[in-house]
């Protein structure tokens, strides 16, 4: 595949082994000279046996059970939808292989799904288009001082009495309903192009959803799908750091002091929070 070409300035002079050796030196410097050296020593000094805990072994299948979505049917719709948003292809694994549906299920069961830290007092204006101040045209990708560090999905104004968990339950079932009404089959049985058409109807706000705009649901689904592909594996997605490997993202690191000036692109074997925190 043409896109795989890494260009002329791909890393050349530095092997992974060299880098690890160098970063070891950096860590040594920190501990010796750092103000918080004592505090950080335990965090920064990895025990050699940690290597034995590969993420493959700890993630396993044990985390792959639903804790929010009750009906297996709903979960299948979710899985099929996320796979269309982030499909498996020659670039790398898709949403299902990355564990995105389980990631989303866990997110829905927690603070985000329950809107624990959002303002949920009434009155609620559900028809905000009519109220004149609905806005989902903006793409956060190109807006705001934090744009470069945010998920590039539009942010529709949230004015629903429903929390995200409720919106997902409603939205997933509506996806199936629209599939049957307009395309004559369950969503999971539709051809991929037809599935895309259904999803596009939600994206373009063409579907009536009680209590919330269908594009609100769609953009939340898109946001959380991208998060599931690339968040730290501790949350159940980005299985075996495959999302990071695909993007050549190294995971959280303590220091790039020695490499920040490097001209060549440096590929590192990713590390997760588990490696970072140590146990």
């Amino acid at each position: 595949m043409a896109d795989k070409s890494t260009g002329t300035n791909e890393k050349s002079g530095m092997s992974r082994r060299t880098f690890i050796k160098n970063s070891g030196l950096v860590a040594g410097g920190l501990v010796g000279g750092g103000l918080f050296g004592g505090l950080l020593t335990n965090q920064f000094q990895k025990k050699p046996e940690l290597a034995a805990f590969s993420d493959e072994k700890i993630s396993g299948g044990l985390q792959e059970a639903r804790v929010f979505i009750n009906r297996a049917e709903d979960f299948k719709i979710l899985s099929a939808a996320t796979e269309r948003l982030f499909p498996k292809d020659d670039v790398g694994p898709g949403a299902i292989e990355l564990g995105v549906p389980y990631f989303i299920d866990k997110q829905l069961a927690g603070e985000w799904g329950m809107n624990a830290k959002e303002y949920m007092k009434g009155p609620f204006i559900t028809n905000i288009q009519a109220a004149g101040n609905h806005n989902n045209s903006g793409n956060q990708d190109s807006q705001g001082p934090n744009a470069a560090t945010q998920v590039p999905t539009p942010t529709p104004r949230y004015q629903s009495i429903l929390n995200r968990g409720e919106i997902f339950t409603l939205g997933l079932r509506r996806i199936d309903q629209v599939s049957q009404e307009d395309f004559g089959a369950r969503f999971v049985d539709l051809a991929p192009e037809k599935q895309d058409e259904v999803l596009r109807m939600f994206e373009e706000d063409k579907v009536e959803l009680k209590g919330v705009g269908s594009s609100n649901f769609f953009y939340m689904l898109l946001q959380v799908t991208i998060e599931g592909a690339y968040a730290d594996p501790v949350y159940g997605g980005n299985k075996d750091m495959m999302g990071w490997k695909m993007k050549e993202y190294p995971g959280p690191r303590m220091s790039y002091l020695d490499t920040i000036e490097a001209e060549e692109f440096i590929v590192m074997e990713p590390e997760s929070l588990r490696n970072y925190q140590g146990h």
Binding site: E118, N133, E248
Partner: protein, 581 residues
């Protein structure tokens, strides 16, 4: 029943840069200071192992819990404002150190022009250059008067940088040299230099070397780990109140930071503030903390809301355009950070590495550094390239025309993950009579107190300046050699997303008590022992990041408070100006 506590010399609401500096200076001067913080008590240890993009950047772990309180927002005065319900739509700092802990670290001084904008604009272009609806005003202080305070704050914070080659008078260099650079930053520097501009490295609160500040606080050297903006620094290498002014205050023995203390009213009697009323969020108990001087040094929203709830100062009324509290709300929203993104087909950058303020900038199109005779706006902004160190969730930039999801999106987002750079214009926002803050008539917080309501719309000034900045950014990005350059689009209207933390005004400083709430010591005109410190004092927003100015104003205010405690009275005489607003 309210429990009345022992009186202290000074009670400070908020523990960010504003409250932190005031706390340090007043306790150093020998006064008993209590600072009240509604958030948690946090230390450096809370930030070890925070390198978690989902939890901090996407789920806003360090931001205010909106369940109990948010703001409401509308564009027009006749609209019903709706609550800003999610943390994706509004970011407000919380916990000890406040928003100053998760800042990126970019540190700019504002210009002589910014402090005297009305006079200087009229002087150079005539009165007609200022649109009738625009309510910009001079600060009542000049750059020359601000300079020593900027200098003090930069030394306290250990700022690492180099002077702006076309910048203004400095009494001394930055205390630390610029940070290490990176190929992307170098490319911006070299390209813009060739174009005849005057680039320089972004002055940074991410330290370039170990440093001990004049108060004896030690900071470490930045490791470029990428986790600055939205995060607390786990290495003590980003300057914030937790490693500087709060420990300084603590060492004096005169200072107490009381966390979980949610201040609900400033108590006021007979022209004097007598203290504050707060609720302990752990127990629900109500306390009165009496003090000789009350300092509101919370976030802009909170400073305004506390004054309005406490009925102190005349609230601004847009219909008559009189009153001062809530007047001239101004901010940097999405329109103020537009530019151009470049995609490099055959060049990769280590863009996962970086630091919040690692970058370069130029001031050739900032303030009044260029002739505005033939442009349809006043003021300007910096042009920046920053290498924050992007996380994996965030790096999904795709050239225009790519669908927002699906196979093509995935292919392009993965391919360009380390191949795209952005240049943007950090432009100024001017104040207007129709952009203001007041109390919402419908929505309330968990104590049933009204929420603060924001009324804000973009103007032609904003849109014209944004267009100008996008054009300049595109030219730079093209010259940098990007294969594809995508311009940002200028939005029609403000979208109610408050994600940048740069909100200001409402309790603005000036020379005329009819059009300003505080004098140039941040002392309220009509309440001598009440000081309101922070970005709430900005009469309008300059074209650069605000933190250094907040820090400098806090030093100015501290001087005023000490003066007041010694001598009492109004520190500045108000002047009545005749010009209409």
């Amino acid at each position: 029943m309210v429990i009345k506590l022992d009186k202290v010399d000074v009670v400070v609401v908020g523990t960010g840069w504003a409250g932190g500096v005031v706390s340090a200076e007043l306790s150093k001067a020998g006064y008993k200071v209590v600072a009240l913080e509604r958030g948690k008590n946090v230390t450096r240890e809370d930030y070890i192992g925070v390198k978690d993009e989902l939890r901090y950047t996407d789920r806003y772990e360090m931001m205010q819990n909106l369940a109990s309180e948010t703001i409401t927002s509308r564009n027009y005065i006749d609209e019903t404002a709706l609550p800003v319900r999610t943390r994706k739509e509004v970011m407000v700092g919380t916990d000890l150190g406040g928003g100053s802990v998760h800042w990126a670290g970019a540190t700019y001084r504002w210009k002589p022009y910014d402090f005297e904008i009305r006079s200087k604009t009229i002087e150079r272009y005539g009165e007609k250059k200022i649109p009738a609806d625009m309510t910009i005003q001079d600060w009542g202080i000049t750059y020359d008067e601000m300079e020593p305070y900027y200098d003090r704050w930069e030394k306290t914070a250990g700022i690492s940088g180099e002077p702006d080659p076309i910048g203004d008078m400095r009494s001394s260099d930055y205390p630390n040299p610029p940070m290490k650079s990176s190929p992307a930053v170098n490319l911006f520097m070299e390209t813009t230099k060739k174009m005849g501009y005057h680039p320089y490295r972004v002055p940074s609160g991410n330290l370039s070397q170990p440093y001990t500040n004049p108060d004896g606080e030690k900071m470490n050297q930045c490791m470029f780990c990428s986790f600055c903006s939205h995060y607390g620094c786990d290495f003590g290498a980003k300057s914030d109140p937790l490693v500087t002014v709060l420990p300084t205050a603590m060492k004096t023995g005169n200072f107490e930071a009381r966390t979980g203390a949610y201040v609900r009213r400033v108590l006021y009697n007979d022209g004097k503030a007598t203290g504050v009323l707060y609720t302990d969020v752990m127990t629900g108990e109500e306390f009165e903390q009496p003090a000789d001087v009350v300092v509101l040094a919370a976030f802009t929203f909170t400073n305004n809301r506390l004054l309005l709830l406490s009925k102190i100062g005349q609230p601004y009324d847009p219909k008559t355009r009189t009153g001062v509290i809530g007047r001239n709300f101004n901010a940097q929203f999405n329109i103020t950070f537009l530019g151009a993104r470049g995609y490099f087909k055959d060049k990769k950058f280590n863009y996962y590495m970086g630091a919040g303020a690692l970058g370069a900038t130029l001031s050739d199109f900032a303030g009044d550094n260029f002739d505005h005779s033939n442009v349809d706006f006043i003021n300007g902004g910096g042009i920046e390239l920053r290498q924050y160190g992007d996380g994996a969730i965030a790096t999904n930039h795709v050239p225009k025309g790519t669908p927002g999801w699906g196979e093509e999106f995935k292919k392009n987002s993965v391919y360009y993950a380390n191949r795209s750079l952005v240049v943007w214009y950090t432009m100024a926002t001017m104040s207007y009579w129709h952009n203001f803050l007041d109390l919402d008539p419908m929505y309330t917080d968990s104590f049933n107190d009204p929420l603060l309501r924001v009324t804000y719309k973009y103007t032609d000034q904003d849109r014209n300046m944004a267009k100008f900045g996008i054009e300049k950014s595109r030219e730079i990005m093209e010259a940098m050699g990007a294969d594809i350059v995508d311009e940002d689009e200028v939005p029609e209207e403000f979208d109610h997303i408050y994600d940048g933390m740069h909100y200001a005004g409402g309790v603005i400083m000036g020379t005329d008590p009819a059009t300003s709430a505080v004098n140039n010591y941040l002392q309220m005109w009509d309440v001598n022992n009440l000081f309101v410190v922070g970005a709430s004092a900005f009469p309008q927003f300059a074209g650069h990041h605000p933190t250094a100015t907040v820090g400098a104003l806090a030093y100015r205010a501290s001087e005023g408070i000490v003066n007041y405690l010694k001598n009492g009275g109004q520190l500045v005489k108000g002047e009545q100006k005749s010009h209409s607003i």
